[in-house]
Symmetry: C2
Subunit: 324 residues, 2 copies
């Protein structure tokens, strides 16, 4: 009977799931993240998506045991706030997400880091169910990392898992964080798009931006990259090769330090490019893996696009492994 709500709050979309006790999704909704306004507008949009998903599940949001939110930025579950979410509109300072959403939905609200809850979901219900330690690598606009050790999330002093900022080439490519040579500066979709634009502006040929326009996008989405690859676009192929190389170095370095049982590859690009690219990342890791006689399992995230929302819903059940 007990259901919880899960919200995956991203820079481009809000994904909501209503999740049953065994991890089954009984309702869902997806909305674009508002690009105008401020935190209050975003939280109202979340509430709207939750009502829509609850309705699909034949309930009200106030029937939920609670609502978990996986959020970017600095998440403070004790205070109920999110601050410095730079991909969300007008969201620099701390905003009380809990108070606002509890009032709108009539259910208690718990907050977690977006990447960590997605990792927890893969641990509890997804590709890492059989493992006790894992590193989740979410390859999308940026590259996020989530860590589970001995069955428990490891979040450090609240900022662990920044695998995107493992340095793969000191003094190398400029990263969105302002530093140089981060893994994300090579593998993050935003950085890849920047590089593709610069090369295209210099007159190099690519179908990337044509596909983007044809599909009515304003960004090189994961789907655009996948389609360009399918069409044999050399620039798309080169930039993805470069991304895979960086992922191989950064993930192998992380494994040399952590020695986890499994590495789970998710995120927009990871999910869209799927198993062939998981295989390529595994190959790219091997030359840098110290314990190469015993590599970790390297698997594709199993919960797909819903992983973040399902993981957020687990914040309500304290993230324990569910026996589904």
């Amino acid at each position: 009977m007990a259901h919880t709500g899960g919200v995956d709050l991203g820079g481009t979309k809000i994904q909501v799931a209503i999740v049953g006790h065994g991890g089954e999704v009984v309702g869902q909704a997806r909305r674009p993240t508002p690009t105008q306004g401020g935190p209050k507008d975003v939280v109202e949009e979340i509430a709207g998506a939750l009502r829509e998903a609850a309705d699909e599940a034949g309930m009200k949001t106030s029937d939920l045991d609670g609502i978990g939110i996986g959020s970017p930025g600095k998440v403070d579950d004790d205070a109920g706030t999110v601050a410095g979410a730079r991909n969300l509109p007008g969201w620099e300072g701390a905003f009380d997400v809990r108070k606002t959403l509890e009032k709108l939905c009539g259910a208690r609200v718990a907050l977690g880091n977006d990447v960590q809850v997605a990792t927890d979901a893969e641990f509890a219900l997804g590709a890492a169910r059989q493992y006790a330690s894992l590193l989740g690598v979410f390859w999308g606009t940026g590259v996020g990392g989530g860590i589970v050790l001995d069955g428990k999330p490891w979040i450090g002093r609240d900022a662990a898992g920044e695998i995107g900022h493992v340095v793969v080439r000191p003094g190398g490519a400029l990263c969105g964080c302002g530093r140089r040579g981060c893994m994300e500066a090579y593998a993050g979709r935003a950085s890849m798009e920047g590089r593709a634009r610069r090369r295209s502006n210099r007159g190099e040929k690519t179908v990337l931006f044509k596909i983007m326009e044809d599909r009515g996008r304003t960004r090189l989405t994961s789907g655009v990259w996948a389609r360009a690859l399918d069409r044999g676009d050399p620039m798309a192929r080169q930039l993805l090769d470069r991304a895979v190389k960086a992922l191989g170095v950064g993930i192998a370095s992380s494994q040399n330090l952590l020695d986890v049982e499994a590495i789970i590859i998710g995120g927009g690009l990871g999910l869209r490019l799927g198993h062939p690219y998981v295989d390529r990342i595994r190959e790219a890791m091997m030359p840098h893996l110290f314990n190469d006689e015993r590599p970790p399992a390297i698997e594709l995230a199993a919960l797909g696009d819903l992983g973040g929302a399902i993981g957020a819903s687990l914040l309500i059940s304290s993230g324990e492994r569910l026996e589904a």
Copy 2:
């Protein structure tokens, strides 16, 4: 009343300590590691050093509550064996250290990884006493890493902490492990010596090998490096600058992933070069630290040369934090 023995088994020396309940060292001995023979000869030398240290403490080895050994190679405490210790003479296969040493000393024997026990010692009794999570970086012949998270050692599947093999420059300098671009290939004393020799053979000037010979050494020990620095040797300075740069990149990357409270710098070179070099490593980390508003504490190991042996003795008291 209860005393335990601790053994730090290294490639060049065997350091033994007899440790009281509060962590105080009441007896110690140091011997060169045999360069001839095999595992049995090494274990007999350990037993001799233990007898000498116990004698200093006014007891017999059979009076000890137990003996802990911090060892290189593949340590299997369940089986009581050490295998593949490539810096020890004729030690490829698994050798039953426990059975041999228990017979020689009349006390129970526990085994642990050399770097991890040194990290545990800094956590329990040394520079990291006030912290719950730390990364120990042991900068010597190689660069070893030990991890404590939430008060407990994290050893992964037995091979965690290989911070020396975090890649700081893909395709870069050749490492002792056979791979390229590892942090150890720039910062490990063995790699630094190899590079100094090649540069010297090409005719570049340095006092490094002169100091080595004058002091009757066959290797560029930490003391040789420190003396060359004191004399303003440009090659020593350059190679140490290069090492510090690599340490900055690799440790910052590790911190971006782990977000621990403290980083403890130990090892032969770390201890010999001391606080000024800890400061330099901190500076070298900063440009690569994602959470640079909140850097971890970065401190020099407090237990010095005895840290490994003291840490090994803690294997007997299960590595719990002692209230000294």
